[in-house]
Symmetry: C2
Subunit: 218 residues, 2 copies
């Protein structure tokens, strides 16, 4: 049983939750909503960089989203069969993080309209064509091999944002990407995750308030 | 023999160059200084996300810095002995990237003074204490085990920036970090790299101009 400590919202925690679900690793959660418990974690030496998410798993206390996601991917057999496959997965996972970063202004509720437009432009220019090409190469509906990897989960997180912020027609000009997205969403483990309490709500005022309180940025 | 395609400056290419040097993988370089050769790489399908660096190695064409660095680390035996060690290395490598990001405003020549101050504050608050604690734990002068890993190279890149932009006394209040930095710089492979033509000069007007020309952002 793993245990995730993060805010009660998506943020950096969401891709970890998705990966745990995809890797079939059961987990429980602690939500930080006040400053004091966060300070205690720092004092106890559990947050070397004074940042969450924190995942307790296999007697380790892991921080840094990219490190946690990779460990979970290895445990779940979602990181390819050899170094070359893992590198291909890293390429697409890292690209999904770049694409994700385009949504950060939206997620923090600034200039939503322009940010969605910028994210769409980045998708059209870089990420959708790359996905289309790659999906044609593998022919399996996945970015590597014939099953879900860390790379697919990384892109699923962003494609969910695309549709949530950009509307159902965001992917309409890219039918292969849309099919890929629809297939991922329908994967039993992902479908189950998305309707579970582990899937967090869209950022709202309450979430922003809690994060600021914990980080002393009120 | 590997081949790196990037701009004629540090940027996202520098940590790859450092890793290739540390892994004793010989490489040559192509510098992008004009738009046309960059467009040709895109047309030839070598840049799936329309971004460099691009590393040709072992009959693969790799993009995305984080993916490239990990592949080189594996080849060079710089990624630990098992999944747990690799995860520890990922934690520190990812933290070094967060710290590096504090220097981005400096590197793009905006508000240098304030950015250096912010980077210093982040170092004092998060990264130097974490390094001190970790170095005490390993006792080897390295962040994991008894030899140079991807995590050390990641931090070396940032500590070089600390001293370059903040001055020789930037690390004076953290003697353990300063010793760590001095030892890394003196490692034969890193010492050799730093005086070689592979080590690029500090960003200057010429570099910024070339990058903008290649990316059509003039």
């Amino acid at each position: 049983m793993a245990h995730l400590t993060y805010f009660n919202g998506r943020g950096r925690g969401e891709v970890i939750r998705m990966m745990l679900a995809a890797a079939k690793i059961p987990f429980t959660e602690t939500f930080l909503t006040e400053r004091q418990p966060f300070e205690k974690l720092i004092q106890d030496g559990l947050l070397p960089f004074k940042q969450v998410p924190l995942l307790k798993i296999d007697d380790m206390e892991l921080v840094q989203t990219g490190a946690i996601v990779r460990y979970v991917a290895k445990k779940g057999g979602m990181y390819g069969a050899d170094d070359k496959e893992a590198t291909m997965i890293d390429m697409y996972y890292e690209a999904s993080r770049d694409f994700y970063s385009k949504f950060l202004p939206v997620l923090f509720m600034k200039t939503e309209e322009q940010a969605v437009k910028d994210a769409k432009a980045a998708g059209e220019d870089k990420y959708f064509p790359a996905l289309e090409k790659r999906l044609k190469e593998t022919g399996s509906g996945y970015l590597l091999g014939t099953s879900l990897t860390m790379a697919d989960v990384g892109f699923l997180e962003v494609l969910l944002l695309c549709v949530e912020f950009g509307g159902d027609d965001f992917l309409d000009d890219h039918s292969d990407v849309k099919q890929y997205y629809q297939r991922l969403v329908a994967t039993p483990l992902m479908a189950e995750f998305l309707k579970s309490p582990f899937r967090k709500r869209k950022n709202d005022e309450q979430y922003i308030k809690e994060v600021k309180r914990v980080l002393n940025r009120e």
